[in-house]
């Protein structure tokens, strides 16, 4: 049991106050209402099997932040670092700020933020390893670094920067609500340390002494509907119309028009703020190629190869069905099985690469642990199903001699069944792959364009890959290839059209999205503008070329190859942009701490070599 210091002042203890029965989202605050079976169990903190005597042990607790009062003194962050012994480059709690107005009528709004132990813990749901648990005790969402394999998906889905991916340790860790302190009735270390009268802690939907508001939002805080966070705010001081961030995220927060309130008769009072992109006026369009490389590079390779492999298999399997005899397996007793095993090899390579994205690749097998909730688990499972079916198909068809003991019709059936199942599993796995990116806190990704992009790539890259297999065979047999490349071109054309249509609608969606989406659109059209437009032009031009060659019956291997090279390069750049351009809906940083611009600078300039600069030298 945590030892309460002698003479601990009153402010450090959680007040035992009445709560409403339900929180504003309709969830019971008493987390075990009518469910006694979880009661009276030890949290087993560090092997201690005692049970805390906190009278509200099974009620949802949460932080309370009075934004009028925060002075950014870092006491909460320091207390957290001391309690959890976190290294300088990590923090379970961080203070960032917004600023607005002009001298001397300027205001800085400091925001201290950690985990909000949400009702809808998207981290928990997203985690493929089930490293997260929402406890009935205090409603704490805890994460176990020993289970985590460091995929970082929770850091994508959390809108508050709560999970901290440690590139050194290779795993995530996060705020643990100081449950050891809660067990003895003490507030978490951060809230006890607050010097501004800003950060507090208690039963959710209750106000601390001297506070009166129970707001769910302040400027700079993401839309609470995403996760139903257990944090409440006070913010009464009137703020300037526009509040800007000091970190490099190109977002500002703008006060809603008073007349835009639901009831036009209601004027005055406090208005809410919404995020908006910074003006790109005067900024020049750039290539941004240097910024394309990211921690997500393995995923660029993994997604593209997987899509190509699935697409190529569809071509191989379905082309003969649609009467393209050039693909008939019987024509290539040696090349056909080799091609299948090359596909398997490629996919194996892609899978291995994808594990490099993990902080702890040797724990890759834990990816399946959360099929119930995690899109990552489902994707991994779906790809695994495809991969295994592909393997089964390859063995059944490529090495039929192994199955000579089977009656012919049974083998034939198995061969066909494996093929059709693989054909189905491929696109299904891409659907699950796309679902990973449908993250509310990442508006740039959260659009069906991801699906058209993945299916588009499947068709274009699949057809290209299939074509690559065919080229060496050209001329070496007496088979009629007329129509073969026409067929591939139609597939590629379809892929480009699907992807292009998606991109077109995506741009339209971004222009009307939340500030983060709009800002991402500014990024893609300015910071990466030249790359973005080049990719679009290459796609459009390639589609035109293909169409022209098809309509003019002027197709040639050379023409096809040229288009293919362009398409592949554009696809790689496009996918890399997909990962780096996303602007997450997340907490504002400070000028140094949690400022991506400074972090990049510290790495480039060598400041990061000093551990006390608090910027981890990237290890990828």
């Amino acid at each position: 049991m945590y030892k309460v210091p002698e003479h601990e002042p009153d402010y450090a203890f959680i007040p035992d106050v009445e709560t409403p029965e339900k929180n504003r989202y309709g969830k019971a605050i008493d987390l075990l209402a009518g469910n006694d079976e979880l009661k009276g169990k030890s949290l087993n903190i560090n092997g201690d099997n005692s049970i805390g005597d906190n009278p509200n042990r099974y009620k949802q607790h949460g932080f309370y932040f009075n934004a009028d009062n925060c002075i950014a003194c870092h006491a909460c962050e320091a207390a957290c670092a001391e309690k959890n012994d976190t290294p300088p480059h990590l923090a379970f709690r961080s203070v960032g700020y917004l600023e607005g107005g002009s001298y001397p009528a300027t205001q800085r709004l400091n925001i201290s933020m950690a985990c909000n132990h949400c009702d809808n813990p998207v981290c928990l749901k997203g985690c493929p390893t089930r490293a997260y648990t929402k406890f009935a005790e205090y409603g704490a969402v805890l994460q176990d670094p020993d289970i985590c394999f460091g995929c970082g998906y929770c850091t994508w889905v959390c809108p508050y920067n709560a999970p901290q991916l440690d590139p050194v340790a290779g795993h995530v860790s996060k705020c643990n609500m100081c449950v050891d302190r809660l067990e003895v009735g003490l507030k978490p270390a951060c809230a006890s340390a607050c010097l501004g009268g800003a950060l507090d802690f208690g039963l959710v939907e209750t106000t601390p002494e001297n506070c009166e508001q129970l707001e769910t939002q302040i400027p700079g805080f993401p839309d609470p509907s995403i996760t139903q966070p257990n944090i409440r705010f006070q913010q009464q001081r009137s703020l300037p119309r526009e509040m800007t961030r000091t970190d490099s995220t190109p977002i500002k927060y703008v006060r809603d028009d008073q007349n835009a309130k639901p009831d036009p008769e209601v004027k005055g009072g406090q208005s809410a703020y919404h995020s908006a992109p910074l003006s790109s006026e005067g900024k020049k369009m750039q290539w941004g190629l240097g910024k394309l490389s990211s921690r997500e590079n393995p995923l660029v390779i993994f997604t593209l190869i997987t899509q190509a492999v699935i697409g190529a298999f569809l071509v191989f399997f379905l082309a003969p069905v649609f009467g393209f005899d050039a693909f008939n397996a019987t024509n290539y007793p040696l090349a056909f099985p080799v091609s299948l095993f090359v596909l398997i090899g490629l996919e194996t390579f892609a899978l291995v690469i994808s594990t490099l994205h993990l902080g702890r690749p040797h724990r890759f097998y834990r990816a399946f642990n959360n099929l119930k909730y995690s899109p990552v688990s489902r994707e991994v499972a779906a790809v695994a199903v495809f991969y295994n079916l592909l393997g089964a198909y390859a063995v059944l068809n490529g090495l039929p001699q192994l199955f000579a003991w089977l009656p012919g019709n049974v083998l034939g059936f198995l061969q066909q069944a494996a093929g059709w199942l693989t054909v189905m599993a491929g696109p299904v796995s891409l659907y699950f792959m796309h679902a990973i990116y449908r993250i509310e806190a990442r508006p740039y990704w959260n659009h069906w364009q991801v699906l058209t992009s993945f299916y588009g790539s499947m068709l274009t890259l699949g057809a290209i890959l299939a074509g690559v297999f065919m080229i060496p065979l050209l001329g070496s047999t007496n088979i009629d290839y007329s129509g073969l490349f026409d067929g591939l071109m139609w597939v590629m054309l379809a892929g480009l059209v699907i992807e292009g249509f998606g991109l077109y609608r995506h741009a339209h969606y971004l222009r009307h999205a939340t500030g983060e989406g709009q800002a991402a659109h500014v990024e893609q059209t300015i910071t990466f503008g030249k790359s973005y437009w080049s990719r679009n032009i290459v796609f459009a031009a390639s589609a035109m070329m293909l169409l022209w060659m098809l309509l003019m019956s002027d197709s040639s291997v050379i023409g096809w190859s040229a288009v293919s090279v362009f398409v592949v390069v554009a696809a790689i750049i496009g996918r890399a942009m997909f990962y780096v351009m996303v602007i997450p809906t997340t907490m504002p940083g400070a000028f140094f701490w949690k400022n991506p611009l400074f972090q990049d600078h510290a790495r480039e300039a060598g400041l990061a070599e000093m551990q006390q600069v608090g910027v981890q030298v990237e290890t990828h």
Binding site: C73, P104, L195, A605, M610
Partner: protein
């Protein structure tokens, strides 16, 4: 659990294995927070927490205190004494005996050859009071140099000087509890949330219980200014005019406390005649504060049943710092706000033991607020120490800021620096380099071997820090608090107390003067010397101090508690027993912005750092909040200059230049920038530091610069990196 795993896994939280907590006082600023350091079963310091029943901090600590335990094993500590013949040679390790022998030989040699005053000692506000007392005994009673001062000249000497001029003695008359009684708080050039977060917390708690108006006077929109009821964004360097104008309004409208003035002050007529010149209209033209606001604040202050003023470096570090303090005292004297609950002139001090050095170090005189100029004081101390009173000079010698120029011109040949880092802290770094090069001999005594000034030392003595020692600090509200020994000194480093005693043995081998073996022994001497004086500590003992979590002086023998306030009976320390109302004509001698250097340069602290970063620059969880120098610049000014947020810029003054990152913020006026002073090879390459005529404190906060964008950002980044060894 609700959802997640079906089987409950045990929860793993960091367990530091603390088996014992030891009582100390924080070694950073002068708030004087009580800290308990947690030790694990290996005796290693692994944690820190505020002491719940300590009146000062009531269980709270700021970022520096929370992480202070990390200092015991931080980078850059000095492990062993170092020596070399010439400053361009590499250091060689030495034994303590060799190093101390060398230092004493050099001191004797220089003093024999050039006179006793040719060897100067500059100490600090960081070591314990017993150490200050011992050093004072060594410098004044054994070495007999009159060029002995502390770096407190850089931070508090204006407050000291102002208190002495107004009240006849140093000593802040108020206390933190005054926040609980005041009806109006004026904060001038003081940014509590950043500089003294715990005092801010005390103030804020008091203000939440019972709201009182908070008026902040500061050219920058600090966090305190933002949280104030009124922010007076004053033109730099014009505080005295504003304070004179407050007095003008009060006297013109008859709001003064006539009885108090008559009973307890003198020279009222001269004062009245002078402030008559500072009507609000005239003052508004100089200060930039409109006349209505001046009248409003003056009336509010005068009409409050109790009103108090706090200030920090915004007043002290100015060409009229001492005058600023006197002006604050004037305001409080004419409104009767001295020595009563909620009425005070309370200087918010910088260093952990700036007060200790003011009281007991003999820097500005003799121990226990005694003056060299006073024959009786010389007599008393000479008798107590057992030396000839004629050994003492009859007038105090040079201030730190005059000692260094005296080195530059050759009057001083040798220097002993204790826990201070002029290479980073003094204005005009280039001049300091040139100065230190000229010394025949310099010994640097510091906890950190990588302290920048060590570049010019001949001998380096590694000192123990903070709770590696035992002794007392005095805080801003005159509270004496105890540092218990928590950890053994790092490597072969030694407590400063031991080093002074060893030096005494070598410099006064006849042992005529007694140097107690323990700090507690020295404390007993101080108690005897304090009896019957303003700073009477004779009622204190180490155990009693720890028990009470600090005791305020005066605390007379037999008393359980000290007294919260000074001058409660209206009796002051001038020979007349009255306080002086001093007329303060305003002379604007600042280097003002012009067409060539169009910006005001203002400097100050950030909460995560302390002074020259020798400590805080190595604690990652502090340093990361500002790991490299930067400047706050108004975005409109930046736009005109073509400077981007987050890019390197060059600032240039008539002294030199510096490279730092630009942070665009509306906190600063369009013609002003703010640069944190903590970083080496940065703002003090540029600063001017004109000296206050009374306190000799440098005006760090006012000079003129120009700002240039840098085209080659990579080269700038490289240059900056080269200056950042920590």
């Amino acid at each position: 659990m609700l959802f997640g795993r079906t089987k409950k896994n045990p929860i793993k939280l960091t367990d530091k294995g603390i088996v014992e907590w030891k009582y100390t006082t924080c070694g950073y600023c002068s708030t004087g927070c009580s800290i308990e350091v947690g030790l694990n079963d290996e005796g290693k310091a692994v944690s820190a927490r505020g002491v719940g029943d300590a009146d000062v901090n009531r269980g709270k600590l700021c970022i520096k205190g929370i992480l202070e335990y990390e200092l015991f094993e931080s980078d850059g500590r000095g492990r062993i004494p170092l020596m070399r013949d010439r400053i361009h040679e590499p250091f060689k390790q030495a034994s303590w005996d060799e190093a101390l022998g060398r230092v004493s030989d050099e001191i004797k040699g220089i003093q024999d050859k050039y006179g006793r005053d040719a060897f100067a000692v500059i100490s600090t506000g960081q070591i314990m009071t017993e150490e200050f007392y011992t050093l004072g005994k060594l410098a004044r009673g054994v070495m007999g140099t009159n060029n002995y001062d502390g770096n407190t000249t850089l931070c508090m000497s204006s407050a000291v000087s102002g208190y002495k001029r107004s009240f006849g003695s140093d000593g802040p008359p108020g206390c933190y509890e005054d926040f609980e009684h005041t009806h109006c708080l004026l904060a001038i050039g003081s940014n509590l949330p950043e500089q003294h977060p715990i005092i801010y917390w005390r103030m804020r708690e008091a203000r939440e219980q019972r709201h009182f108006p908070l008026i902040v006077i500061d050219p920058r929109v600090t966090m305190l200014a933002q949280n104030a009821d009124m922010h007076l964004a004053i033109n730099p360097g014009t505080d005295v005019v504003l304070l004179n104008s407050f007095a003008h309004v009060i006297l013109a409208e008859g709001l003064q406390d006539e009885d108090y003035i008559k009973a307890n002050t003198e020279d009222f007529d001269e004062f009245k005649a002078l402030v008559a010149q500072y009507d609000p209209v005239t003052a508004s033209g100089i200060t930039g504060i409109d006349e209505d606001t001046i009248r409003n604040v003056a009336r509010l202050y005068a009409k409050s049943p109790a009103a108090m003023t706090i200030w920090t470096m915004g007043i002290n570090q100015s060409t009229h710092g001492s005058d600023g303090v006197v002006a604050i005292n004037n305001l409080n004297l004419i409104t009767g706000n001295i020595g009563k609950p909620g009425g005070a002139s309370l200087s918010i001090t910088g260093q952990s033991n700036a007060m200790g050095t003011r009281e007991w170090s003999s820097c500005s005189g003799l121990p226990g607020y005694r003056a060299l100029e006073n024959e009786q004081d010389r007599q008393d101390i000479a008798e107590f120490w057992g030396i000839d009173p004629e050994f003492f000079p009859k007038k105090r010698g040079m201030f730190m800021t005059d000692i260094l120029p005296a080195i530059e011109t050759g009057q001083i040949k040798g220097l002993w620096l204790i826990a201070t880092n002029p290479m980073t802290s003094m204005p005009n770094t280039a001049r300091i380099r040139k100065t230190l090069e000229k010394l025949d001999f310099m010994v640097v005594q510091d906890a950190y071997a990588d302290v920048e000034t060590n570049e010019y030392s001949h001998v380096y003595l590694p000192a123990a820090i903070w709770a590696e020692k035992e002794g007392v600090f005095t805080n801003t509200e005159r509270r004496v608090n105890l540092i218990r020994n928590v950890a053994p000194p790092f490597g072969e480093s030694k407590p400063d107390f031991w080093i002074f005693n060893e030096m005494a043995k070598r410099l006064a081998p006849q042992g005529k003067i007694n140097f107690p073996e323990t700090t507690e022994g020295a404390f007993e001497e101080m108690k005897q010397l304090s009896k019957g004086r303003m700073l009477d500590i004779s009622g204190m003992s180490y155990d009693k101090i720890e028990q009470q979590r600090g005791l305020q002086w005066p605390c007379k023998e037999g008393e359980d508690m000290g007294e919260q306030r000074l001058y409660t009976n209206g009796e002051f320390k001038h020979p007349s027993g009255k306080a002086k109302l001093i007329p303060l004509p305003f002379i604007d001698n600042n280097e003002r912005p012009d067409s060539e250097y169009p910006f005001w340069l203002n400097t100050g602290r950030v909460v995560e750092h302390f002074h020259t970063r020798t400590r805080t620059g190595k604690v990652g969880n502090q340093n990361k909040f500002s790991p490299t120098p930067y400047m706050e610049i108004n975005p409109d000014a930046a736009k005109e200059l073509g400077i981007e947020h987050g890019s390197y810029v060059r600032i240039v003054s008539r002294r030199g230049d510096a490279v730092l990152l630009a942070q665009c913020t509306q906190r600063v006026a369009k013609d002003a920038v703010f640069v944190p002073f903590h970083f080496h090879d940065c703002v003090n390459r540029v600063s001017l530091g004109l000296l206050d005529p009374h306190s000799r404190q440098p005006a760090y906060k006012q000079c003129a610069i120009r700002i240039e964008p840098i085209a080659d950002q990579q080269a700038a980044a490289k240059m900056n990196l080269a200056s950042r060894s920590y």
